[in-house]
Assembly symmetry: C2
Homo-oligomer: 415 residues x 2
């Protein structure tokens, strides 16, 4: 019997407790021994819950109980999650967390303490909810040289974009609906501005490179500027718009970005809809592989936490080599990274064709019946080159007192 404690009895903490209590036998079979839930740390009481008699309010009870070998951090945020997790690892306990903010901000230090103490710091549930992507990276893609990892990593924004795509609704309408359904927070900024995706792609990039990634180095663009008009053009192209966190390794340089991208029907992430997440990996030998599952939700996330607990129990006394070291990964400037662009422009396509071609070269033009604008798809060019042309084009029109470029979205329309 190995004893566990859960810190935080919210959605995820209660899900973990439920699984530990209800699937005791199955877990024991996998872990090689029973995992007993000894404490649940929370400021509140839960007299009617199945863990009523396990609730404690003082962290030191857990820290100082040498019987407790496994600790689940399900409090969220950095304080007191960070000092508590650190103390548990220093006390020689395995820690499992679902807290991407904690992993992105302090993962390097916590992984090092785990190594020093011969325990494990696992965080499968911090990225991709019900997709076992972290374990896939260190267990299944061993020995693969990973060239790209790109994911739809945030269920809220994917729900919003999917609804906009299918129903032609506006961003604000759909956001309100998502909030009513509980799919979006009342303060949705972390999701819709891309900050959540940013922390997750930072963690995935660090897993792939083996080095610390500062999420603040990552260029991050959310979905608040995506409109129903963008989806009208996308439909014409058989495409959709998704918020992608993406990391590419080219000639030893690491390019990372969070941004909405227009992707075609052949793209493996195109079919990832609603609150689902999907993660695409391109690697040297395996080629393209893709992993798909629930992005969030009580039980999927809790199940990922329990899988980590089982692996920790299987490795009592052994630090499983995962994660990254203290060396900082430099994030390359995106100016040289190439893409083709979807550009919406005010006015008449014929009148502006010449100016557009002079700056952007040959483009594919898209016209929607009755619209006061048109759109073009550019050839592939570097971000720096495109920006130069776009600014030149726009300022020319602005000088003429005319509206210019209304929207720019990167595209990956060919598979």
């Amino acid at each position: 019997m190995m004893y566990a404690a859960i810190m935080g009895y919210g959605t995820i903490g209660s899900g973990v407790a439920q699984i530990l209590l209800e699937s005791r036998e199955r877990i024991a079979r996998c872990a090689g021994q029973e995992i007993g839930l000894k404490y649940v740390l929370d400021l509140r009481e839960f007299p009617d819950s199945p863990v009523a008699d396990r609730i404690v309010h003082d962290f030191r009870v857990i820290e100082e109980d040498r019987q407790v070998r496994l600790v689940v951090e399900a409090m969220g945020g950095l304080n007191p999650a960070y000092p508590f997790v650190k103390a548990c690892l220093n006390a020689g306990k395995h820690v499992v967390t679902s807290n991407k903010a904690l992993v992105a901000a302090h993962g390097t230090e916590l992984l090092q303490i785990a190594r020093d103490k011969g325990v494990n710091f696992f965080f499968e549930a911090s990225v991709g909810g019900g997709i076992p992507i972290i374990r896939t990276l260190y267990r299944c893609l061993m020995g693969e040289g990973i060239r790209e990892i790109t994911g739809i990593l945030n269920g809220t924004t994917n729900f919003i974009l999917t609804k906009m795509d299918r129903e032609g609704a506006s961003f604000d309408e759909v956001l309100r609906e998502a909030q009513e359904l509980g799919y979006a927070e009342q303060n949705p900024q972390a999701d819709v501005e891309g900050h959540d995706t940013c922390r997750k792609i930072a963690i995935l990039t660090a897993m792939v490179t083996g080095k610390e990634v500062n999420y603040e180095d990552i260029s991050t663009e959310g979905i608040t500027r995506i409109t129903d008009m963008d989806f009208c053009y996308a439909k014409e192209l058989g495409a959709s718009v998704k918020l992608l966190g993406s990391s590419r390794i080219v000639d030893g340089k690491v390019y990372v970005r969070v941004a909405p991208v227009m992707i075609g029907r052949e793209h493996p992430l195109h079919a990832v809809c609603g609150v689902y997440n999907g993660i695409l990996v391109k690697s040297d030998m395996l080629g393209t592989s893709m992993y798909y599952g629930s992005g969030a939700g009580k039980l999927p996330t809790a199940s990922a936490v329990v899988a980590d607990l089982i692996e920790a129990a299987q490795n009592e006394g052994i630090n499983v080599p995962i994660g990254w070291g203290a060396e900082r990964q430099e994030i390359a400037d995106n100016g040289t990274s190439k893409s083709s662009y979807f550009v919406r422009i005010f006015g008449d396509a014929n009148e502006k064709a010449k100016a557009v071609q002079e700056e952007l070269g040959e483009v594919r033009t898209l016209v929607l019946e009755g619209a006061d604008e048109f759109a073009v798809l550019t050839r592939e060019m570097s971000e720096a080159e495109f920006t130069r042309h776009a600014i030149a084009l726009d300022s020319k029109w602005q000088k003429d007192g005319e509206d210019g470029i209304r929207q720019i979205i990167r595209t990956e329309l060919e598979g």
Copy 2:
């Protein structure tokens, strides 16, 4: 340094050799020690290959060399693969294979010998080529109660069906093209009749249930009867036809089948096209997850073998608990399993509507301009019930000297 031998220097064996030689450092980092390639067993010589000086023709050289701790079986077939693998395990060597026929036929015995000898018998590459599904099942979905595993498990048939879907071509045409491109064997029976998929779903089912599955117990239907007409109707429905291997666990009973299924655009496997494979898993807590990648190919398959070698090297002296025991899993009769059906019927839809409705109840009728037939989609019913009605309907028309039912395909049109 741990020494390895490869048995069979064909496509996969040479791919494994290539990776072992070219990615020596990366593999050493993952495995915790270098993996040196000592022998390659083949009847032929390969004087111009990088393994020229490692070629041996006598299996006993490998069997009797105590330095060789890892053996890759890449010969295919059962003889001499089976006796050789058995001898290696009995000699206390880890064995890794990509040979699904071997695993499906003798996996139970070979897994048991590995357990008895404290070594490992790994077979990631036997199912899903570049999809790490075996490892996902025993490493990532630990503690999950799996309710369904359904896959597009054969790249050749998926290539054929994708071509038929996109180009409206006939089965024979596309098969010929696939053979010319090397995607289909000159004797394509194992693929197109579903036998390959059958062995793979047998292995996956045994992984999920922990019991031996006799692949001969699995009802198997191939794609040779799928026609371009089927795809015309499918297009009307926004659907496609895929060859699925499927295993469902309902109330402790295990239903397994290989058959073409018409699936809708929302189905997670719908976007799995060409030579790619995809595997859908439904489990208690994680919900629906899906894994996608190259179904075959030299490097994806070889990479899966190398991942197994690395895991074996990491677990020297330890039998990792995977696979299944000797107890036989009973496969339930599919008669009670439910589905809705796509049925193509000769003649005029209006004239036959009454008879159809009397037998099959309310159906959705599909008519293609200019065709001498029509199709219906039935409600969901058990296989036994449907078969009874279909036979009654068909024999009535046959008695009237008329053509009756031309095609029956199970459908999963709602996600």
